[in-house]
Symmetry: C2
Subunit: 228 residues, 2 copies
């Protein structure tokens, strides 16, 4: 079964107090997005890599690739106005119908090989495989400014990759966009797909603040030390 | 109104793959717990500091204080078998009735001055003030191995300090222990207290894994640079 990695790098970087979109911020000497692409390329799964970027960032990205000598093969697709539209644009260029696609945030460069491997394997078996982690801290529900305790063991924090059998996720994305679509699992659930979670890794963090960038650098460095 | 900080350092460190309890792990050259105590002592609120430790760790802690020349005044109390019992033991030595008490995890050394100040001020006004942050990622609820999307904007991740008017929290702790008591807010809610949340800081992380320790070190170093 053919494998695709659809890396969505549409973020504008507004939370980073920076005019540089977060996928282009420098992490351990290279733009974040290069680390993310490499995580999938270096994997034994060896998926075809599609990167969705805002249309007006594609030239900049090509220049960055040249500048950093980054030569991992990948295809570019222009994103849309929302994450939903960006993913949809990416899915549309996949022609195979017997395939699985791992949809992944460009701003999650620390995804590990085990997570990627599991995600492809489980999605091929079950139709979907969504990386998720338990909550480490207490959780409260807020309604009309009254908060109440909830049992955190009944909840999971959702990450990416979110990996799907291609026909099913394309069918799910055939609907219109909606504000409730915060991720691909939500789109798939709306279409009636069974959502299968699997345990991801706390280190697979999403870079949204300058502090996250420093944390990611620390974790990357630590990983290099362990493997070196 | 008198102010107390009740720092609960009862953790056994089982998640740290280490025989050293997490509050004694070395962070930027000193045990984690010293950073936590200092965060409260350095504050203009200047609360009386009570540290709850497992009975058989108190001598070790005293030795550490001597070894590191740590001389911020604080009182020791022996903890109990559970977090609930440890907090209860700590509350019992507070004699004043016109006071507020900030109950705080010993393993959260990065709590900042603004959070501490807000927590004391809001608790004095409203009876309780619980540090909490919005979720940055999607959330799903899991029931009978079926997961469904929930609106994360209706949830908050709960941190410490959890600060209360002393009479109210003592009354709440007069009940028996329960497995559902994952934090002080849960105990207070059970007793019918109104739980007031306020916005904490993502950097106020709880150290539970070796990676957390490295992350905390990065954030501390960054903070020193900014203030230096």
């Amino acid at each position: 079964m053919k494998k695709y990695a659809l890396i969505v790098a549409g973020g504008s970087g507004t939370r980073m107090d920076s005019s540089v979109p977060k996928q282009f911020m420098i992490l351990a000497g290279r733009p974040v997005l290069m680390h993310t692409i490499e995580a999938f390329a270096g994997d034994q799964e060896n998926p075809l890599i599609i990167v969705v970027l805002p249309a007006d960032h594609i030239d900049h990205w090509k220049n960055l690739c040249q500048q950093y000598g980054f030569n991992i093969p990948h295809q570019h697709v222009a994103g849309g106005a929302t994450r939903f539209q960006s993913v949809k644009n990416g899915l549309e260029i996949i022609r195979e119908s017997d395939a699985v696609v791992a949809i992944h945030d460009g701003a999650r460069p620390l995804v590990d090989k085990k997570t990627i491997e599991q995600s492809f394997r489980l999605a091929a078996q079950h139709g979907s495989a969504i990386a998720a982690v338990p909550l480490k801290e207490s959780l409260r529900k807020v309604e009309h400014s009254i908060s109440s305790a909830v049992d955190r063991s009944n909840f999971r924090i959702i990450q990416t990759p979110q990996t799907f059998e291609i026909k099913q996720i394309k069918r799910a994305y055939a609907v219109g966009d909606s504000a409730e679509f915060t991720d691909d699992a939500t789109v798939a659930e709306k279409a009636g797909l069974m959502i299968r979670l699997f345990e991801g890794s706390y280190e697979n963090l999403k870079i949204t603040t300058p502090a996250d960038l420093k944390i990611a650098e620390t974790l990357l460095l630590d990983r290099t030390k362990k493997s070196g």
